[in-house]
Amino acid sequence: MATAGDRIIQQLDASLPATTRPRPARSGTGLSLRTGTGTGAGAGAAAGTTTAGTIATRRRAKSFLRNYYGIQNTDSSQQDGSKENTSAQAGPVSKSDPYDLDSHAFEVDKYMHKMFVEKQLPGLIQSDNELVADIRQLDGDMKTLVYENYSKFLSATDTINKMKSNVDNLESEMSRLTQNIDRIATSSSAIHSSLGSKREKIRQLNGVHSLLTKHFKHLTVFTGIERECKIIMVQVAQKIRQKMCAEKATISEILECVGLLLTLKEEPVALWKQCLELSMSCLKRVKTETLEHIKSLPLYVPPVTTSPKAAQTPSSSTSKKARKSARTPSSAGPSAASATTPREKSTFKGSSPPPAEDKVAYLNAQYLKQVESFVVSFRSYFLAPVPGSARSATGAVATAHEETATNGDHRAPAWIAKDARVYANMTAEQQAEANMSVKDAASKLISQYLDIISSFLDYPDDILRIQPEVHVHVLQNLYLGTTTSTGLCQLLGFDGLATGLIQNWETRLIEKALGKVKVDLLTRIMEQGNPDITSSSSDMGTAAGEGGQLERNHSSSTPPPPSGLTAVLRKTADWLLDNFKTNTIPFLEKCMSSDAQFLETPEGRALFLRNFQDGFKAFWDQILQEMQQRSCLMSATSSAGSRTCSLVMSRLCFELSNAVVEQLYKSVSKTLFRPGKRNRSGSFLIESYDEPPVIPQLQWDCKAVVQLCQESGHALLDGFIFRTGNELSSKLVSDGSTLSGVSLDPMSQESPPRGVSDPWEQIYRQLNETERQVVMAYGDEGDDRQGNHEISSESTRRESVFRTTTTATGGGGSHNGNTNTSRLSHRNDSLTSFGSNTMNSRFENQQRNLLLTNIDKLFSDRVEIFVRCQDLNRTGIMFGIIKILLKAWAEAVRTKTFSKGGFQQVQIDAEFAKVWLWRFATADERLMHSLLEETQQTAYRRCIDAVPLDMNTVESIINSSER
């Protein structure tokens, strides 16, 4: 039995004609089937009939379907074969067996006939049933098949439809592609055609070249030409060299020549060496000439004729014209230019730029610019060109040349701009060497230049005499020189050097300005220290107005008519303030304000102020130091005047620390340190008194200086007290005996004393003198200010007591306005403990006295003799001196041995001191008394036969030596 597929196909085959064809065609079918299966090629042979054609069509359809379903012909053939095999026995019988249902040759009639013949009815019925079942099954199969095929057909239809729509898109794409390709094609052809001619030319040239090399190489003409060319080149180089080495070659010529030689591929090492050498000699010549010339030029031309603002504003633009005009401001003044130009031409063969009016500008224009152009060109020629520097190099050279061109004598070489790219190829070592050499040479030049510049700046002792404009102008030119000399700045740090010079100038200027004030101040002090010249300070009338104000400001407690030294001190302080206000600060302001671009930059200004700040601080330090030094120095001479001087200086120091320093710092803050741009005039005047505070930047300095002044004041004052005290005590301590001198040994004094001893007389006089000086310097406000009224009145009482018990003598202590009317003995206080009214009793019970003294000492505070004087007034200072004096006396008495007279002298002196010295010792009267008492006691103990004078004698003696 065949497979289901085969069977289906066969059935389909069988059914197709059944469905498409009317029944009558069956016979034909049977025939064709027969022939068809007879041979494979039988189809063609049977083509003559229509049925055969139909059969062929059917066969094609069949094979098509077979292919579609993947059923190979071999299968059918095999099937055929197998059928043949299986029906091999039957052979042609089976093939043509009309009774086989599955065979093509089946004939219904014969089969029916056979059936009828062969089978019985039940068999027939069975066969019929079988047939019916078969038919039904086949029918079902066929239906399924049809249905399946149909669905496949539908999907095929769908696919076809889809394909159809896709193809539409494809078409448009395709059309575009075609267009593009067309375009490519056209452009390609266009390129081709356009290159065609050139190719042709190249080919021609190639041909010519090869022709030439091939055929005309040996021709002498060309060799000749070549040789000639070379000779010419050599000659050109020689010419250039000649020109370069010419005696009068200017620097631009030299540089031009060097550039040309470089383009001619000259040997660079030798060239740069020569170039350097030549340039140096040239520049040297130029310098000499320039210096020669500027001798006749003024250092500074007042800006009236020129327009400095316009000319000196730094032109940051690259415009060469602008730069030129900035560099030579004088060219703005037509009259000046015309006046100087001819002279210039005669001197410099016209190769020089238009001359400037003043020295530095001229120097810059003549010399510095040449140096700069040399450096720039050299760098661009021989050293690795920095990108950008090449441009500036050409710029510089071009500028130089343009300027020469403006003079009309020199062509502006057009090559120069192109030539900037000329650059010598050298090895790194060679370059380094060249760099070193040119650096050396240039730094030498620049240091010479800076020396010249600094030689223009003079610093006379009286610095205020100089015109700051001149200095500033010189430095301004220098600054401008640096801004325009980029090459030098890059090579040498020229700007740094120039800034250094400017800094130096600032420092020296400030130092000088302040130094002048310092010297003046010290001179004043020295003068005023000497009371004889105190009245000579009349030159301060100008300061009177302000001075008065200031006085009221910082010392309101001062009595209205400050006499003597006080006034002088005030005046000195005022003079100092005034001097700063009217001289120093304006002077420095002027320096700062006059068109100085180097000060206009924030850094420049900050530097200047920094310099000033340092200088100002140093100024104070120096003043104070100098004062102390002088004070020490004078102590050696130890004259009254010198002592006063240190007193005055100490007072001045306190004065400074109290107000003046701060005031000055305020002024400075307000003027020099005022932020913002300054206008030129009037800014320095102190208009109002509600001054702004010291700016923070200066505050620390200010405080330090105030502190320093305070310290110095104390040191000076203590020195004064110390020296005065020592001087006074030396009168008591040394018994006056020298190896050769007269002996004032207390032992030698036999007779009872008639009066106060000479040393004490001197001491008293000197104390009064000192007090006068102290009062003059420090005022007499001590007692009042300290609220010492009680003590002072008490002491008055004590002193008075002493006087009244004795016979009242006229006059008396009318010193210092203290008129004493009633006097009681002072023995009440320190001596009452001895319980006796007689003088003798004080000295009688020695043991007890000693004990009492020791107990006293045990409970009393330790007395410090040489200590810093804290009360800066008459009381404090005088007490400091008295302390030293009395302690020294007490010590001195201990080392001596007294005769009766000697002791009595001490007694008198001590009583005298009690009476007359109390007013110097109001600070601690007790101490004075105890010291004096101790001295007397000591003298008593150290006396070989002590007989104290009685009270009345002492009194009468003291009163007899009434002053």
């Binding site: 020296r723 032992m747 000492k857 003799i865 040489f866 200590v867 201990r894």
Partner: protein
């Protein structure tokens, strides 16, 4: 007025010489009193014989003239009457002795203020206007003047002098100047003249470091000088006193300790370690100590002692009156005595803190 010797000190108080004996074990001072015929101003004990002592004293001649003289005495403690009285005597009476006169340095104008022992046969006496060198024979009781140095400036008396312990040189102060003389040639060795503002009172020579001297005077300052460079100014200036400095003394063992006394009633113990031989030792120890440090780290932590520094170590204010003399014990490196005008002698010790600092370093 005072001087130290071995374990005892002697000082003169007016007309007495007191011999103080300090017993360390029971920490007690015993005083033996010797009466002296005159008012004693200075005293100096022999280094060789503890019983020999020079006194400088003032003597009133004819009731109208005072002369200063110097005599050598031998201290003789009188035997106590009986043993049983001793206890009572100690409590109620101080033991007394007698001074046996040995010799007197006979000087013309009588202004001796100080005697310095050079050795047992040579002494130097300082007078107002000259310094005399004597050869003495204690056994024979004779003194022979062998040399004399006049004051260089007729306006200033000699105030004090000191022997250079390192050389045959005497250094004296007068006025505001310091000057040294060679003892044999009597030539000036150095002079620092008028280099300070005030009169000088006292001087001492560094016992361990040659060329270093200390002076004190009227300006309350102690100045340490190097006499090799007389123009350089003082090595160090110390001011802790508020009145004249009357006495200055180097510690004989640790010259970084300097005692000063002043009429401000204070005794100051100063450390000048930075310019003393102590500084040298420190450097020497530093190199050796480097290796030890590693081993003794633990010890160091426990016994860490700060190195002594310059400055005032301590101010002793037990005195109520001017302190005119101060002296170190010649045997105990930490013991010193000060004497004030009121007759009080105070014995003190270097504070143990400072002591340990010095020892540890």
């Amino acid at each position: 007025m005072e001087s130290t010797e071995h374990r005892s000190c002697a000082y003169g108080l007016r007309h007495q010489v007191h011999l103080l004996t300090f017993d360390e074990d029971i920490f007690e001072i015993n005083t033996t009193i010797f009466s002296h015929p005159h008012e004693i101003w200075d005293i100096s004990a022999s280094k060789d014989d503890p019983d020999l002592v020079f006194t400088c004293y003032k003597q009133v001649i004819d009731g109208r003239k005072v002369q200063s003289k110097a005599s050598l005495w031998r201290m003789k403690v009188t035997q106590r009457d009986s043993e049983e009285d001793d206890l009572e005597r100690i409590h109620h009476h101080q033991p007394r002795g007698e001074l046996e006169h040995v010799l007197t340095l006979d000087v013309g104008d009588g202004s001796v203020k100080k005697v310095i022992w050079q050795d047992s046969t040579e002494v130097i006496s300082v007078e107002d206007w000259r310094i005399n060198i004597w050869d003495i024979d204690i056994k024979l009781g004779t003194a022979k003047l062998t040399g004399s140095i006049e004051t260089p400036n007729r306006n200033f008396k000699f105030t004090s002098a000191v022997m250079n312990p390192h050389a045959q040189e005497v250094v004296a102060v007068y006025g505001r100047s310091i000057q040294g003389w060679n003892l044999s040639s009597l030539k000036t060795t150095f002079a620092i003249t008028d280099s300070q503002p005030a009169m000088l009172h006292c001087i001492d020579y560094n016992p361990n470091r040659p060329f270093q001297i200390a002076t004190g005077g009227d300006d309350c300052k102690i100045r340490i000088w190097d006499v090799r460079d007389t123009t350089a100014g003082p090595l160090m200036t110390i001011q802790d006193h508020t009145h004249w400095v009357w006495s200055v003394a180097y510690n004989k063992f640790h010259d970084q300790l300097v005692l000063t006394s002043s009429s401000d009633c204070q005794v100051n113990l100063q450390s000048i370690v930075s310019i003393s031989t102590g500084a040298d030792y420190k450097y020497g120890d530093g190199s050796e100590g480097g290796a030890e440090d590693d081993e003794d780290v633990d010890d160091q932590v426990d016994h860490e002692q700060e190195a002594p520094t310059d400055g005032l170590v301590q101010a002793f204010d037990q005195h109520e009156d001017s302190v005119y003399q101060v002296a170190w014990s010649s045997v105990d490196p930490w013991l010193f005595l000060s004497l004030s005008y009121d007759g009080r002698a105070v014995m003190n010790q270097v504070p143990s803190e400072e002591k340990f600092k010095i020892i540890m370093n």
